[in-house]
């Protein structure tokens, strides 16, 4: 294991810790039980700096850690797979835009980086996570409640993810350029 790999490895670990802490700061409690927090933000930031592979690994491990730290939400085996590893790993796919972010950061073209990397990256990660939760809801309800408009139920029930995503997008726009100025991702590039 090289030093660079080790740094990435530790960054993933500390990202998970920050994710748990930010996730516990509930900014807004939704009436139906979901809560809005910035828990996704660390994985999004790491994915945009380090690429999709690191992002997906951090996301999947975050799902695993979430199971240990908070009371798990398990009502069905398929629902469990989709709501934990798959949904959280999907957030890491924000890293698909990391090349674009790094090239913008190199020239300090912040608004270009925000428009071409941060916004599409966060949107991709968050929408894929939302999709995983919605599909998990459909699987669950289709098994228990035949003949109901299951897609609608699931889409509404999971909508809190989208609100969280909007907040994360705003926060990522603030955090990433500031972070890049102090700790550039370029010189420790993976």
């Amino acid at each position: 294991m090289s030093k660079r790999q080790l740094v990435v490895f530790v960054e993933i670990a500390l990202t998970l810790a920050l994710g748990v802490v930010l996730g516990s700061l509930k900014i807004w409690q939704m009436p139906q039980g979901g809560s809005i927090s910035l828990g996704m933000l660390p994985v999004l930031v790491l994915a945009l700096r380090r690429g999709p592979l690191v992002g997906v690994a951090a996301g999947a491990l975050g799902g695993l850690l979430g199971l240990i730290v908070e009371p798990p939400f398990i009502v069905h085996p398929v629902q469990f797979i989709l709501d934990y590893p798959v949904a959280f790993a999907a957030v890491g796919l924000a890293g698909l835009f990391s090349a674009s972010w790094r090239s913008s950061a190199r020239t300090q073209a912040w608004s270009r980086g925000i428009a071409l990397a941060v916004i599409p990256g966060v949107a991709t990660g968050a929408l894929l996570r939302y999709a995983a939760h919605v599909v998990s809801g459909i699987v669950y309800f289709a098994d228990y409640a035949q003949g109901q408009p299951v897609i609608l139920y699931s889409a509404i029930y999971n909508s809190y993810v989208l609100v969280s995503a909007l907040l994360c997008m705003g926060a990522a726009i603030l955090v990433l350029p500031a972070l890049e100025r102090v700790v550039p991702s370029e010189n420790e590039r993976s």
Binding site: M1, K3, L6, V7, F9, V10, E11, I12, A13, L14, T15, L16, A17, L18, V20, V21, L22, S24, L25, I27, W28, Q32, G33, I36, L38, L41, P42, V45, L61, L64, L65, L67, I68, V69, E70, P71, P72, F73, I74, V75, P77, Y140, F141, Y144, A145, Q148, Y153, Y157, V163, L167, G170, A171, L174, V175, A178, L179, V182, V183, E188
Partner: protein, 265 residues
């Protein structure tokens, strides 16, 4: 605005369930989940409920804490029950009828079956995290994932990352708390206004948290390298957790009982 200092669900008391090896408990939870989905009659649910109740009593975890997980699924439970029991303008005679809405007896019975299954699933699986310390859990996880190392899955590295994350959760929480207090002293409000105003208040807290994260990662990597950490290959442990004969006995016997319940009832 307070940052919770204690994380995790572990209830540190002394009990036979706590002293059982984490790997045995994971196996039992998997067997329990499978049995719960194989059971297809009310009698099987009663047997599964008895197993869960016995485990909770043995574990000396207070009922209030053992049942806490149900709170998160209340909405799902209500929707499940309603979807089964409620009928819109049914042709047949219903149990209770309010206008066009009716409660169907057979549907109600079916709905209750599914509700009980979810409740048992939630309480049964949460017993694992309530009675096993996070470190023991990650150790157990590493041991279970070890065969995957043959297909180049970094099992030991995954366990190491989770252990580092668990260790740094309190440190990061303290740091966040300090930053929030410092910003509050400068007049920031974290608990007033709508979601956007609240999120904006967090900006001066978030930036230093992220800067510290990436700086600390570099320091920690240097410290690990200086101590010759080079991944999982050939790493040994000071405290190796082993399955004792007692753990094997409980695992095999428990799986057998659960399999019987799942297949016959």
């Amino acid at each position: 605005m307070k940052v919770p200092v204690t994380f995790g669900q572990y209830v540190p008391v002394d009990s036979p369930v706590h002293s059982l090896d984490a790997k045995a408990k994971m196996g039992l939870v998997a067997a329990f989940t499978a049995a719960l989905f194989l059971v297809d009659g009310p009698l099987g649910m009663v047997a599964a409920a008895a197993v869960v109740a016995a485990a909770v009593v043995l574990s000396r975890v207070p009922w209030r804490i053992a049942l806490r997980g149900i709170r998160a699924v209340v909405m799902i439970l209500m929707i499940t029950l309603a979807a089964h029991a409620l009928r819109w303008n049914p042709a047949t005679v219903a149990l209770v009828r309010v206008g066009p809405l009716a409660v169907d007896a057979a549907g109600l019975k079916e709905g209750l079956f599914f509700v009980v299954r979810i409740v048992l699933l939630v309480v049964g699986t949460s017993l694992l995290t309530l009675t096993t310390s996070p470190v023991a859990l990650t150790d157990g996880l590493e041991r279970i994932m070890r065969p995957l190392a043959r297909v180049r899955f970094p099992a030991s590295e995954v366990a190491m990352m989770l252990t580092i994350a668990l260790r740094f959760i309190p440190t990061t929480a303290q740091e966040a708390e300090k930053l929030i207090v410092a910003q509050t002293a400068r007049g920031a409000r974290f608990d007033a206004g709508g979601p956007i105003a609240r999120a904006r208040a967090y900006a001066p807290v978030l930036v230093p948290l992220f800067v510290n994260l990436f700086r600390r990662a570099d320091d920690l990597a240097t410290a690990m390298e200086a101590r010759c950490y080079r991944g999982g290959v050939g790493r040994t442990r000071l405290h190796e957790s082993r399955m004792r004969p007692r753990d094997w006995a409980v695992l095999c016997l428990g799986t057998l009982v659960l399999a019987l319940v799942g297949i016959t009832l």
